[in-house]
Amino acid sequence: MDENFQEEFTQIIKFEPPLYKQRYQFVKDLVEKYKPKKVADLGCADCSLLRMLKFCSCIEVLAGLDICANVMKEKMHTLSPLPVDYLQPSERSLTVSLHHGSVAHKDPCMLGFDLVTCIELIEHLEESELKKFPEVVFGFMAPSIIVISTPNSEFNPLLPRLMLYRHPDHKFEWSQAQFQSWALETARCYDYSVEFTGVGHPPTGMEKVGFCTQIGVFVRKYPQTGESVQSEKPTEAVYKTVFKAVYPSLKDEKYLQNAVISEVIFTAQIIKHRLMSKREEYGDDPERKSKFQPSMDYFSDYFGKLVVEKNMEPFVSGNEVYIPLATVFSFPKVNRLCGTFENLCKLIAGKVTLNSDGSAVMFNIEHENEEN
């Protein structure tokens, strides 16, 4: 079933961009504004909102919940990390999970979220579910912010081909007054403040019918003290996790170490390469000399600084080239990855060939010239 699509299709009034995109954009703007770390989308359907939110760099935990596992499964693989995410692990950590279950049931996996979105969800709930909904979302999950969107029935007469509701599965569609009174009551009950807005402007002259989609943004009035409330919460899990993806991140030591080793060796190779080609300039190849001398190297800045400190200069001894770690550390990329010199040493210990006192990366160049 595809609501986004249906709404678009039935309208004589065309929204540009389409209404569902406007709803998603609304959520995205909210995320940009409040920078929540943990976001849950209730009624996530085919995960299109989640797919969009995974690119928001503030989010570290993203969860979806839906009553229909099949519709979630259909496109859940699009929430998996991309090959590039493995190649260039991001600084932030990100876990995406999908749960199969009902918003009428409490499950501890939904605790601790900063933002919970319920986009076009409540109108699908049976009366009994709708009754439990505030207690589960506002009372139990109790995130700092809740966004609820639902059709505004006053707008419906402007959608001519519409018979009763905008979607056959809708159990009700509320007027502005109905939604607002429900929202205000719920907010009052659970100590939230609420502001009303919406997307899908009515045509000029008919402003009083309100937005096509009405939205309530609920903000918790008091920061939760956690402990006391948490203790009375049940710990029994009732949702079934259907998908979980942990994105590679530099916060994970495994990825950080790989990234550091790779960057250290690569940087050291560049320094070695420069050192060797400098040495070759003393050879008799005129072509080479002229080519390498004025090299507009993008590393040249760092080299300028390097010469200042004597102990940071790379050198050749016998068949070995030594690149001091301090030099490697002075490269911004390495520096940013490791933070401290100690950390650098710790991360590469045993993984990169160093000299005896561990102060320099060592390369053997004996066999190199043979094949190159």
Binding site: F5, T10, F55, S80, P83, V84, R166, S262, Y298, E370
Partner: protein, 798 residues
């Protein structure tokens, strides 16, 4: 030809995506060539050789008895346009059609038969419109039908996806356990190729281990390091050379693109037109769509051509270098010995290890509940043990060289040692020749000369002192010397180059292959710098020079008389002008030691076969000049045929060959055999020796079990490998009026693998294919136009 051959395009969307390209029938299903060849109707197997026990990477697919796939057409009244809506409406009736289905919007596949042939279902859209859905049975597909096979492949790919493998290009890879090679900033992912096909007796899954080389840097990073290496002047040129043709992954979606061009006049601030018609800058777009900040606003933009599958609309996509990661290896990397050595450790898996990795995949499949459920729902399962069967190892050939006969050690498939110090069949005297070198390579040049004088007498080559010329190490200097010093009497020019820089080599080859047709030999100074190997190197160079001047080295026994053997291979030049080049070589004598070589240079869109036809005509004329008659048998070994092109070959190229023969004379009707040679095949064979798995020995022929019933095809393992798994070569005889027994054709093919003069051993393909490849490669890489015909009677391109 076959109805129901192509699964409708929508279904292919499920996962059989041919990234950025046309939809193709990769497995050449439905091309049935064997039926036209009466003499192999009964049997296409050979008989000679020793029996060997083999296992392979094929796994039997089993299905329930009386299994069939049911294909339905789904119609809507009133007509519903959108595919998503059509699915939604249909699947309101899951209780009727079941939960296992594949639907593309109009064709529905089900594992079970619905009660009646035509089922009418009623749905209601949300605007209360009633829709009648008519589901009509159109086809009951037996497990062996081409549609069914395509369908299996789709299902299998679904399974791989369920196992959380990542699709890159056509294969699936496991991202969770990469091997990183920090020295070269490479990462290797282990993955699998898979295809399910109807083989001789069974439908089988052919699975193989595949490695994807990925690079831990963006295209922008690469551009930076190119800039620091070559400087401003050659920057754009080098970027184009190194980057165009590479496949990239993007940061924001799971697609691969091929870099077709670099737009230096554009940058991320530039705008593009979105599908809704509005203009937007790249910076803005990536920020808005993916929250990605592009940091370098001065970088150029990469262009990737996309052929839309619907309607074949061509278009292009602009990509930002900073957001693209490179995959695969560049030619430059491939020529980096150290890098390839480091890579080989991880990618060249010996037989046992290869099978173990495959076992792991099958184990995942077996253990995963969801995967098993999906398979069960469709009524399919796999034999988790690979098939075993027997092959034959045909006997080694005798090598003839000037009246002497040699056996080689079959284990090494090499006769370098055996033939050392024996005169060549035809040694061309080197009376007048040039040796060109730079000042710093003077010593190297003298060493080479001395060594050549040492090794040539025993080969029977008479060699005079060369004209030694010292040049500056500049391309123009080499060319000037060539223009001044080459005379009509010059037999050959030898140049010692101090670096492997391509431009110098290209310029020399271009001049000496087109403007001034003289054989030439380029040697890297470095190759000559090691005293311990200089004699071996000089021997090789002497042999190569001899061949380039029209000499002959050795031969094997060819029992057929009046036979002309043709080899064809193609090279597709991606960089300059996208031309295609076909190399064409044809044997000119009874011993198959002399070759006529030509090539066809064709720009994009033209058919190569027209040029090939002309080559064949000239070859026949030359053959008759040499032999005073026309050949009564012609064997064409056709290499360079891509997946899915077999149909074109059978229906277009072969008739052209026949046409060409007809045009020679009304009374001329030689026996023609056309064999498609394929080096890149998924099949691997393992010899079961002493309880372990080993590479099968050279000469192993396989013509049962894993061949295709609708083809006259066989595999030969002709070469040996030091590490990793040996790859068999697949031969598909698509046209044959020779009346030769399969055994004889197999033997002839194997014999021809002994005849490549640049390698005193057995190679992977028949020598004419390798010659054709060499020629096409030289022309495509360096010369870019057809070499002078004066050279066509020599192997000048070796």
């Amino acid at each position: 030809k076959t109805t129901g051959l192509q699964v409708s395009s929508g279904l292919q969307d499920l996962c059989l995506k041919d990234r950025g390209g046309r939809r193709r029938d990769f497995h050449d299903l439905g091309v049935n060539t064997r039926q036209a060849m009466v003499h192999v109707q009964e049997s296409k197997t050979g008989f000679s050789g020793k029996v060997i026990k083999l296992s392979t990477n094929h796994f039997r697919l089993t299905s329930r008895p009386q299994w069939a796939l049911y294909q339905y057409h789904v119609g809507y009244s009133p007509e519903m346009e959108a595919r998503r809506l059509r699915s939604a409406l249909l699947f309101q009736h899951e209780e009727h059609i079941g939960r296992t289905h594949a639907f593309d919007g109009s064709i529905l596949f089900l594992p079970k038969k619905l009660e009646s042939k035509v089922t009418e279902l009623f749905s209601r859209t949300q605007n209360g419109e009633d829709v009648k859905i008519t589901v009509t049975l159109t086809n009951e597909l037996p497990p062996t039908s081409p549609t069914c096979l395509q369908f299996y492949n789709i299902i299998f790919r679904r399974l791989l996806k369920m196992l959380n493998l990542q699709q890159i290009g056509r294969n699936y890879y496991n991202p969770s356990d990469p091997v990183s090679i920090p020295n070269h900033r490479l990462m290797v992912w282990l993955g699998f190729t898979s295809s399910i096909l109807q083989y001789e007796e069974n439908i089988m899954l052919c699975a193989d281990v595949s490695h994807k080389v990925l690079r831990g840097e963006t295209v922008l990073d690469t551009m930076h390091s190119i800039h620091s290496q070559v400087g401003e002047e050659r920057f754009r040129d080098t970027c184009a050379k190194e980057l165009i043709g590479l496949i990239v992954l993007t940061k924001y979606n799971n697609r691969t693109y091929r870099i077709d061009d670099i737009d230096w006049d554009n940058n991320p601030k530039g705008t593009f037109r979105k599908s809704d018609g509005s203009e937007m800058s790249f910076v803005e777009y990536y920020k808005k769509q993916y929250n990605i900040e592009i940091s370098d606003w001065m970088q150029p933009v990469l262009i990737s051509q996309i052929k839309r599958r619907r309607g074949n609309i061509e278009g292009s996509v602009a990509l930002i270098p900073e957001l693209c990661s490179l995959t695969g290896l560049t030619d430059k990397m491939r020529s980096d010995f150290n890098m390839m050595k480091d890579l080989a450790i991880h990618t060249r898996l010996p037989p046992e290890q290869r099978q173990r990795e495959l076992g792991r995949l099958l184990n995942y499949i077996q253990k995963d509940d969801n995967v098993q459920k999906e398979l069960r729902n469709w009524g399919l399962s796999f034999d988790y043990k690979s098939v075993s069967f027997t092959g034959r190892v045909v006997q080694g050939e005798k090598i003839f060289q000037s009246g002497t006969m040699f056996d080689y050690n079959p284990q090494f498939a090499d006769w370098t040692k055996e033939t050392r110090g024996v005169p060549l069949i035809r040694a061309v005297p080197v009376d007048s020749w040039l040796l060109i070198y730079t000042r710093r390579n003077y010593d190297v040049a003298s060493t080479l000369l001395q060594s050549l004088f040492k090794v040539t007498p025993s080969m029977g080559i008479r060699m005079n002192k060369p004209h030694m010329i010292e040049v500056d190490d500049r391309t123009e200097a080499y060319l000037r010397v060539l223009q001044q010093k080459v005379t009509p009497d010059t037999n050959i020019v030898v140049c010692i180059l101090s670096s492997s820089r391509k431009d110098k080599y290209d310029a020399i080859k271009k001049y000496l292959c087109t403007d001034c047709p003289i054989p030439s030999q380029c040697v890297l100074a470095r190759t000559l710098s090691k005293p311990q190997t200089i004699m071996a190197v000089a021997t090789k160079i002497a042999l190569q020079m001899n061949c380039k001047m029209g000499g002959e080295l050795w031969s094997v026994e060819i029992p057929l008389k009046q036979v002309m053997i043709v080899g064809i291979d193609c090279y597709h030049d991606t960089v300059s002008g996208r031309q295609s080049i076909a190399g064409f070589v044809a044997s000119m004598n009874q011993t198959v030691t002399r070759w006529f070589s030509r090539c066809v240079v064709q720009s994009r869109g033209q058919e190569l076969v027209d040029g090939i036809k002309a080559c064949l005509q000239t070859a026949l004329r030359n053959w008759s000049k040499w032999n005073k008659c026309l050949p009564s048998r012609i064997f064409v070994y056709r290499d360079g045929v891509g997946d899915g092109q077999l149909n074109t070959l059978v229906n277009y190229e072969v008739p052209q060959f026949l046409d060409c023969l007809k045009s020679i004379g009304t009374d001329y009707s030689p026996r023609l055999t056309v064999i498609v040679v394929k080096k890149r095949v998924g099949a691997r064979f393992f010899a079961e020796i002493g309880g372990g798995l080993k590479n099968p020995p050279p000469g192993t022929v396989v013509d049962t079990v894993v061949t295709r019933p609708e083809w006259y095809d066989f595999f030969i393992v002709s070469q040996t490998v030091k590490n990793g798994c040996v790859a068999p070569t697949h031969y598909n005889v698509i046209y044959d009026t020779s009346q030769l027994k399969p055994d004889h054709l197999q033997r002839l093919t194997y014999k021809l693998c002994h005849m490549y003069y640049n390698w005193s051993g057995i190679i992977r393909v028949p020598a004419p294919c390798q010659y054709a490849h060499k020629l096409a490669f030289l022309v495509g890489q360096s010369i870019h136009r057809e070499p002078n015909l004066m050279l066509s009677d020599r192997l000048y391109y070796l």
